[in-house]
Symmetry: C2
Amino acid sequence: MPPASLGPLFTDLYELTMAAAYFAHRRDQQATFSLFIRGNHQPRNYYVAAGLETVLQELEAFAFADEDLAYLEKGGLFPPDFLAFLSRLRFTGDVMALPEGTICFPDEPLLEITAPVIEAQLLETLLLNVLGTATILASKAARCVTAAQGRPLVDFALRRTQGRDAGLALARSSYLAGFAGTSNTLAGKLYGIPTSGTMAHAFVTAFETEIDAFQAYAATFPRHTVLLIDTYDTHQGARNAVTVAHEMAARGESLQGVRLDSGDMVALSREVRRLLDAEGLPTVKIFASSGFDEFKIAESLAAGAAIDAFGVGTRVGVSADAPYLDIVYKMVAFDGHPVRKFSPGKATLGGAKQVFRHWTPEGRMARDVIGRRDEAPPAGTPMLQAVMRQGRRLGPPAQLEDLRRRFASALAALDECYQSLQPCPAYPVTVSPELAARQR
Amino acid sequence: MPPASLGPLFTDLYELTMAAAYFAHRRDQQATFSLFIRGNHQPRNYYVAAGLETVLQELEAFAFADEDLAYLEKGGLFPPDFLAFLSRLRFTGDVMALPEGTICFPDEPLLEITAPVIEAQLLETLLLNVLGTATILASKAARCVTAAQGRPLVDFALRRTQGRDAGLALARSSYLAGFAGTSNTLAGKLYGIPTSGTMAHAFVTAFETEIDAFQAYAATFPRHTVLLIDTYDTHQGARNAVTVAHEMAARGESLQGVRLDSGDMVALSREVRRLLDAEGLPTVKIFASSGFDEFKIAESLAAGAAIDAFGVGTRVGVSADAPYLDIVYKMVAFDGHPVRKFSPGKATLGGAKQVFRHWTPEGRMARDVIGRRDEAPPAGTPMLQAVMRQGRRLGPPAQLEDLRRRFASALAALDECYQSLQPCPAYPVTVSPELAARQR
C-alpha cells in the first residue's frame, strides 16, 4: 500500500472551474483523454511506463471529503448545486493503459481515459504528476542498469529526491527497472523491495578510532557488514577493514564488503581490490557510491574500476539531466467525435488510440504504429490494455516482481542502439492510415 | 496542516543499522548534527531557507507504529531489545534553525540538532529530503520574482513536479518567495494560499466553437474569467475574446484577462495588447504561460513583451537548471567533543555553530561569519534560532504570510548583484577565528 491518497483537491483550480462550467451548461458528455509524452527534443531513446498502480488506487478512492467541499464553498467561486454534484462524484470511467514496465516512445499514449468529461478533466493534474514522475524515474534507472552490465545497483537517493513520495516512486520505479534494492526502508515495507544499507561517516566519527567503529558494527551485524572506508583516509580505511575481516574470519564470520564514497573511484577500487586479494579476501566485495549515474557508471567500468556494486544517488533520484518530461493529457474525443488542438508545436491527433507493436522474426522490437483504437484487424501486438471499466479494476493489483520481469524481457527485445547512453535515430513510430484519415 | 507523516521508516536502512550498533554498544550519547549546503559549484547566488515547519511537525510526531516494528522484526536484522527500544523512541532533542524565508549561503547551517545520537541519526534522511526540496524550490522561485519586476506570478507546475509532495512544497515555497498564488487547490486548502485558474484547451475543444466555450465560461464565472486564446489561432482567439468582453461589459461585467500559452510570446502579447486597447479594453490583462522560468521571464520583458502576469510551470517546479542541492547532514559533535570528517572534497568543520550576519550602515547585508555557537560576545546578528527544546516547540507554528513578509524584507536588503540571474562573486562568508581554532 502506498501512502494515503491526498484526495481530489490535488488538482489545478482550473480543472474545477472548467468542471463547474461544464456542469452549468449540462455538458458532461463522455470524453476520451490521452496521456502521452510529446515528441520533440527527447533526452531518452526510450521510456519505461510506470506509476499505473498508484493511479488505479487513486481512481478507486476518488471522492471529495466534506472538508474539501467546505474549503471550496468558503472560496465563494462555486455554486451550491455544483458542490452537491461534487459530493456525489466518483470515478465511473474506463481506462486503457500500458502495463507498468512497458517500453514506450513519444506520442504513444501511456493511458487513455473515457469518462464523463468532468471526471476525466478533474484527474488531469494527478495523472500527469503520478505517471510522469514514476516514468521519468524508471526511464533514468533503466539506463543505469544497462550501464552497470549486470552489477547490482542499489537506490541510495531518498535524501535528495524532490519530496517524500518521489523517494517512494524512485525506489519502486528503479526496482521495476532492474535495481537490486533500495536504502529506503519505507519502500521496503510498502512494496516488498529488498533493502540494504551499512554505515555513514557519522558512525565512524562517533567512535574513538575508525577500527573501533568497524569492530562495533561487525559485532552487531556479523552477517551484514559493509565497512565505509573513506572517513579519514581510504588506504588506511582499507587496511583497517582487512584487520576486521581477519578478525571476523577467525570467528567464522565473513566481511561482506567495503564501501568507497569519495576520491578517484577507478584508482581506489583497483588498489583496494589488490589489497583485499593479497590478504586472501577475494570474496569481500567493493561497493561504490558518490555521484554515480549511468554516465559515471559507464565511465568507471570502461576505465577498469574494480567495483562490484553501485549505490546510486542524487543524479538518478531527480533524473538530473532530464528532470521533467513534456508529458500531457489531451482531450481526443468528446461526445463521440474526435477533437484536436492546433496550437503551434502542440498539435494533437484526434480519436481514441491503440499502439500496435511489430516484431522481427527473431522476436525483437521492430516498429510501432499508433492507430485508431477500433481499427481492425490490427497488425502487431496491441500494447494498451483495458485495466478499468466503469470505475472498477479488471484484475487484481499487479505484483512488482512480475512488472520487473516484464521490463527485463522487454529490454532484452530492444535493439542495443536504443539502450545505449548516446542518442540514436528515433525508434520507428508511425501513424496508421486509418488514424491519419480521421484527422482530415 | 500538511499531509500526514510517513513515519520514521522514511529513512535509509543504514540509519537503523547504525542505530542498532550504537544501541548494542551503549553509545547513545548526545551528538550535534549540522545540516548545510556544501560550498562547491554553486548554481545560485543565494538560497532561501524553507521547509522548517514540516520538519517540526515530523519531529513532534516521531514514533514507530506497531506495523513499522513488525516489518523490521520480519526482516530478521534487528534484535528484540533494539526493537523494544525503538517502540519507545520519541524525539527529545534541541533544534536550532534558520527561520523559513531567511537568505542563506553554502556552508552555513540551515539547522542543527542536538540529541542522543540515535535520534539525531535516524532523522537524517527526512531532514535532508524535506529541507532540501523546499529550499531548492524557494530559491528557484525567488529568482522568478526578481525577474518579473513586480508582475504577479502564479505557480502552475503541479502536474510536472516530481511527485505530489513536491507539488505542495512548491506551492508553499513559491508563495513564501513572493508568488501571488498557485493553481494547486490542495495547497490553497492546506496553507491558505490564494488559488487561481481558468481553462484548458480541452474545455475549448469540448464546445462547437471557441466562442461558445468562452461564452459558457463567462456565464459561469462573470467575475473571474480569463480566456485561453491559443487553442486554434491566437489572433482569432483574441478577436473572440474581444467579442465576449463586449458582451460582458453590456451586462455590467468585465473580462479579467486573456491567456497566451504558445507561440512567440513577445510578438503575440504586443499584438493582443494593441487589439485590446484599440477595442477600449485596457483593463483586460494579458496572462502568459508555457515554459516560463526566470530566464524566459527576463528575456520576454527585456524584449518588450506586454505581459501583465505569468503562469510559471515545469522548469521552476523541478528547478530544472539545478534540480538538486549538495545538501548534507554531518555529525559535528559527539559526547561533548567536536568531530570532523576528512574525505577529499567533503571535509566538515567540527562543533556546534552559529551564523553571525553583519550589515552595512544602510541596513543591507554585508557579510556573514560562521562561528562557534557559544562564542561571545558575538558581533553581528545570530541567524540560527532555537525552535525546539527537549522535543518541544518553543513557539507556535509560523504563519506563512509572516514568512513571506520576512523573505521580502530580506531580499530588499540583499545587494542586486546577488539577485541577478548571472553568477556573481560569492557573498562573503568567513569562518570566525574561534571556530577555526577549534579545528586544530
